[in-house]
Amino acid sequence: MKKVAEKKIARKITKFCANILKDPSVNLLGTFSSSPSKDLCLINAGFLNGFTREEILAIFVPFWKINNLIMLEGKSYCVVRFQKEKFAIESYNKLNGSFCLKDETKPLYLCYLEFIDEKLFSSKETSDVWPNGLKLENNFISVEEEEKLLLLTHNQQLEESQTSHLKYRTVQHYGFEFQYGCNKVDKKPLASEIPVEMETLINKFLEFGLARPNQLTVNHYIPGQGIPLHTDTHSSFEDEIISVSLGSDIVMDFKNNDTGKHVSITLPRRSCLIMTKESRYLWSHGITPRKYDVIDAPFVGLTILRREKRTSLTFRKVRTSECDCTFTRWCDSQSAKVINFSEETANQIERNYVFHVYDKIASHFSQTRHSPWPNVQSFILSFPVGSLLVDIGCGNGKYLNCSSSLFSIGTDRSNKLLEVCRNREHQVVNADCRFSPFRDSIADAIICIAVIHHLTTENRRLQTLIDISRMLVKGGRALIYVWAKEQQMGTKKSAYLLQKKSEVSRIQAYPTAVLPVHENRTNFKHADILVPWKLYESSSNGKIPENSFDPETHPSTYFRFYHVFKEGELEYLCSKVSNISIYRSFYDQGNWCVELKKE
């Protein structure tokens, strides 16, 4: 009887191996062998059969030491590498054909493998990355502190009425309520603040250089419970999110929202996890609901970690202003305002918030714009006599007479500014910077200083750069300046900047567009903004109007649209233009600048 069964098993395995070998996608498996080795192929135990890594490891790990388990997408088998051949033989003898995995009707078959391509083992496991900005402090609190905190949170849990039993865990909130459905905070404060007993712990955070949190979420997990992958909404909380683990180790999963890259990190009990920057804004985190985790422990290899009752304390600081992180695709503060105006809206906003404004403020603007910026001037002076310079968006024409050995032509949308230029005997043309009315391949030098940041869409800004490339002669160079969102490099603030607190107000720039108003001399909070220009009417006619109060306090305010550029954005835009290369790029007094060369 035993012999018959063995024959049947052998037949099944032979048939299976033959089928695998027909699969052209498998060339790393090596060959099936009847003589023992450290590597076993487990037939009927793959992702395709609905098993997880943990379920398969759970068969072996309690009895034999395993070095590695490779599971392949869409396959009905997997490969286990044991630490010793002995373990493989024992498993083979014990399990082959006589063991069924949970809920599986087909028995598990095993077969030794020879000449496995080592790539099979290296490909999967080495891709792990540590999310940028993620910090894990082991033994952040002592055993005694842990005990105190556990007691405190469990007592609170019994008393408090706002404890909610979610499908997968029990949650309590302090300070503000974190709404797990949408991962946002309810900005209406709760009656219960963070318990005073937490003060020792909070002081530890402060010592660690973290900001004082004002919101706490306590999660109680029993083995088998978890929390789905999520990113705490950017607009709800500040950068640092702190999580202290009590009662049990746990494996937390992290997923990069951009790349889909996945990494699992063991959070030991009494550790403190600090999510900042990329790990806080760009990555999701969560806990898979299961009763045990498999971890790759140092010196031990893969082992099973049984989950115990775990309590996590998550501390956050509720945000009072908009988030201005650089992960705009994932930022609800910014994505709501990512400007994607229709052509009609774009035209209207540029007309009302750029061209008309410059016409209104032209003479005052011109008085404040007399000295050329040194880097622009030296660019102009680098061209030989008889070169043609085109200044796109020339304003009051302060660069048109930098060099008398060049022929300089300026274009602008504001007739009033062009009149200023004409009074200074400059050659100027009223034109749209996206469609300059000049012949192809004609300009040796083009400057476009502080212009394309007035255009409302990326496409319109790009059109301008493409048109600049069109006009340049081969080997000709262009200099582009745009206002930088970053008004501070290192510790050095730009001349523009003067730190002060401010609240954001908004203006309905168009029926379909509400834009934030920038407070002058402060850091930029948004990419697309209205910047006020205060015009003192009294100075235009030299008289203070009758019945007026102090004219200083009653200026007319005009708003100009700006798209302030983030670091790298201008280069990115230039990279979309064919036939030009970036000759150099630099930061100059609060502006991002590139010098382009026509190929």
Partner: protein, 124 residues
């Protein structure tokens, strides 16, 4: 608007216009300003200038046959030619009038020496 500036202008920004060059000039007011003569500068500019378009512009302003129909050989050393080119390119300015697209007939006004090359939103 100097004729050198005019020599560089096209109405290609209009939808459907392929060359848009040269723009005809209908002048209402023309001014002549004396400008310092720089032979090296003018020689370099002549390399950029579309000479036929300059002749046509001169003709539009009533200066028929004052310019040779082609750039002369060895112009760098021909002071008479360079001075003539200098006068037409640098000293004559159209103050008021219209520029006319050769393909569509669209008029672009010149006001106080400033050509308005802005197209309407439905023209681009």
């Amino acid at each position: 608007m100097k004729l050198l500036t005019h020599n560089l202008l096209t109405s290609k920004c209009l939808k459907g216009v392929t060359v848009g060059y040269p723009l005809a000039i209908v002048a209402k007011e023309v001014k002549v300003n004396e400008i310092d003569f720089n032979p090296e500068f003018i020689s370099r500019m002549i390399q950029k200038v579309d000479w036929a378009a300059l002749c046509k512009a001169a003709e539009n302003l009533g200066h028929s046959d004052e310019l040779p129909p082609n750039v002369v050989d060895d112009y760098e050393n021909n002071e008479e030619f360079l001075k003539k080119a200098h006068h037409f390119l640098m000293e004559i300015e159209v103050m008021n009038g219209d520029l006319i697209c050769p393909e569509t007939g669209r008029k672009f006004p010149v006001t106080d020496g400033i050509p308005n090359m802005l197209a309407n939103e439905d023209e681009v």
